[in-house]
């Protein structure tokens, strides 16, 4: 008997229990910008971004074939931000390669839409989804050495968010 048959065979006698449905009553009073600060991201205006990162690479098709490990500052578009935790939903279509937001040294994300919490976020994600997507909240970080927070573990060393109207 295959492992599959063995495993599934042991589950035949289980008594069904109902799914509780969608979660109701979630808080909505969150401030996206405040959450971004908590997760270690910086919020800049479009003008300030020009001064801070004049030589960034904005994602377009021409970036294909470029050595991603050498991209210093990468700018991409996020689909929406989540106010409760500062996470931004990114999809494969908005980046040159799945590894792009991780392998660049500094990441800039443009966001124009903000939803209050994760429940609202998954409402947004009901439409046919992309082959790869992620919630990204702040720069790469670790506290594996004595619980001291270090920014820039393996992924981007900084995250700058530009909230555009």
């Amino acid at each position: 008997m295959s492992a599959r048959e063995q495993i599934l065979g042991k589950m035949e006698a289980l008594e069904p229990v109902n799914h509780p449905g969608n979660f109701k009553g979630a808080s909505v009073d969150f401030d996206f910008q405040a959450s971004l600060e908590v997760v270690g991201a910086r919020v800049l205006t479009a003008e300030a971004l020009e001064i801070e990162f004049p030589r960034r690479r904005r994602y377009d098709k021409t970036l294909d074939g470029l050595s991603l490990a050498e991209v210093e500052v990468l700018e991409i578009d996020g689909e929406f931000g989540v106010a409760e935790n500062g996470a931004i939903w990114l999809t494969e279509e908005a980046m040159p390669h799945r590894v792009a937001p991780f392998i660049c040294q500094h990441l800039v994300i443009n966001v124009s839409k903000i939803v209050p919490n994760m429940h609202a976020a998954y409402e947004e994600l009901k439409k046919p989804s992309s082959s790869f997507g992620l919630f990204l909240a702040g720069p790469s970080k670790t506290a594996d050495i004595e619980q001291s927070l270090v920014i820039g573990a393996h992924g981007a060393r900084s995250l700058t968010v530009v909230i555009r109207a």
């Binding site: 063995q6 989540v82 392998i103 050495i145």
Partner: protein, 447 residues
């Protein structure tokens, strides 16, 4: 293998370090409290998550099949493994086909449970653990001591020395920022060169056939997106029904684990990228046995946040290695006996049964009750530690015979030295109270 009590004795020999360990983990517990209490719906969320898991476990067979069908339609290869040996053989076969000799792996407690690294090493394949904490303990030939904070038993001096030996960092440099940078450079080389990447799975969604991997460092993504072959290893209990259920679990996971609002990266792997090969290995290894037992079934709800570790007075003062299992702490103590009752018979006793673990558990597992159930089962099976068995039998006999209880009591009051010896484990590290001159009964009779 030393028992939990024996290993703990070594751990607490360094009192200063024990205090530091205790306080550091309590600090994480306090961060969890702050992050949780911000949400006024926290308790409702825990209840909801628990119910989703009840529903999922009750329908696990059909959800696993739905997940398999969707994942396959998405172009992912799905494998089933009955036990650790089969799991390791499947993983090895995929790697061998690729011909790789070195590969990267992000955190996966399941591969620790299967001892995958050792298995592959015997086949001449080197596994490079890429989570910083895991890389540190791997260099030191140690196991992770905590499922979320693998190197929490080490001080920065220890890490500095380890990196000096293995990465050539300057001797004496113990700056976390500097050491993390050294690891970043060292591991970046491996990420760019590896053809195979192994990751764990935090959640697998039956509705869509996708799986979600959460990290703060970005190491799972660096590995998976750069490799030709991605192998994701998961226990069958990681399934959740719908995508929107993720909202509940992602809200609970990081807040419970480290007090963060959400992990830095919550990656949703739906289909392999163009030209990439993606595999999922579904492992049983005793989980179906746990599922069939109403007493222990709830332990399969665990989302591996380790909140129960951080709050546990025994874990904080005995360290993860004392549990001699990949998953330590209260949850590990109820999972391990299911895999090997005899080898882990000490673990359900490594608890005060205070119930703090159950109070912080984001999916409301009755951990302390299950610890107590295991104690009863182990006693009945004759597997409990000998000293405890004798003590319990003696106590039960004494309490059942009032005359002996009275005689014993008066003897002990007169010769309290009989209890205050090193033969009595309770006496170690404790000052025993003075015995009263008369018992309640004697006092009452005189009145």
């Amino acid at each position: 293998m030393p028992s939990h009590a024996e290993a703990s004795e070594k751990f607490i020999a360094d009192a200063q370090r024990t205090d530091w360990h205790d306080e550091t983990l309590w600090f994480v517990r306090e961060k969890r409290d702050k992050a949780a209490m911000v949400l006024r719906e926290w308790e409702a969320l825990r209840e909801h998550a628990s119910q989703i898991k009840d529903h999922t476990l009750a329908n696990l067979g059909s959800y696993l099949q739905a997940f398999e069908a969707k994942a396959q339609a998405n172009g992912i290869h799905v494998h089933w493994a009955a036990d650790a040996a089969e799991h390791n053989a499947i993983v090895h076969q995929i790697i061998a086909k690729q011909g790789s000799k070195v590969l990267v792996k992000s955190k996966s407690m399941l591969t620790e449970e299967c001892h995958l690294n050792d298995y592959l090493a015997n086949k001449g394949i080197e596994v490079v653990d890429t989570d910083l904490g895991e890389r540190i303990v791997q260099f030191r030939n140690e196991a992770p001591s905590h499922i979320v904070l693998p190197a929490i038993h080490l001080k920065r001096e220890d890490v500095g020395e380890t990196f000096h030996q293995h990465l050539g960092t300057p001797k004496g440099n113990k700056d976390p920022q500097f050491l993390t940078e050294a690891a970043r450079q060292h591991l970046r080389g491996h990420f760019l060169a590896s053809e195979v990447a192994i990751t764990g799975v935090n959640f697998a969604i039956a509705e869509t056939g996708e799986f979600v991997v959460c990290t703060n460092e970005g190491n799972a993504d660096m590995g998976a997106h750069l490799a030709k072959v991605h192998i994701a290893c998961m226990g069958i209990e990681k399934i959740i029904p719908k995508r929107e259920d993720l909202a509940v679990f992602l809200r609970l996971l990081a807040r419970s684990a480290t007090g963060q609002l959400i992990t830095t990266y919550s990656s949703h792997f739906h289909k392999p990228r163009e030209g990439q090969e993606m595999h999922i290995v579904l492992l049983d290894n005793g989980r179906t046995r746990q599922l069939a037992d109403p007493k222990y079934k709830n332990s399969l709800k665990c989302i591996r946040c380790a909140a129960c570790f951080n709050t546990c007075p025994v874990y904080r003062r005995s360290g993860g290695h004392s549990y001699h299992q990949p998953v330590a702490g209260p949850i590990g103590s109820i999972l391990a006996p299911n895999i090997d009752k005899k080898a882990n018979a000490d673990l359900p006793f490594a608890s005060t049964l205070c119930g703090s673990c159950s109070n912080v558990c984001p999916v409301k597992i009755n951990i302390h009750e299950q610890l107590w159930f295991w104690r009863q089962d182990l006693m009945a099976a004759g597997l409990a530690p000998v000293g405890k068995t004798i003590g319990m039998k003696l106590m039960a006999f004494t309490l059942a015979h009032p005359a002996i209880y009275r005689i014993g009591g008066s003897l002990l009051r007169r010769f309290s030295g009989m209890l205050n010896t090193r033969l009595n484990p309770w006496y170690k590290q404790r000052e025993m109270p003075e015995a009263p001159k008369v018992s309640f009964q004697e006092w009452y009779k005189k009145r």
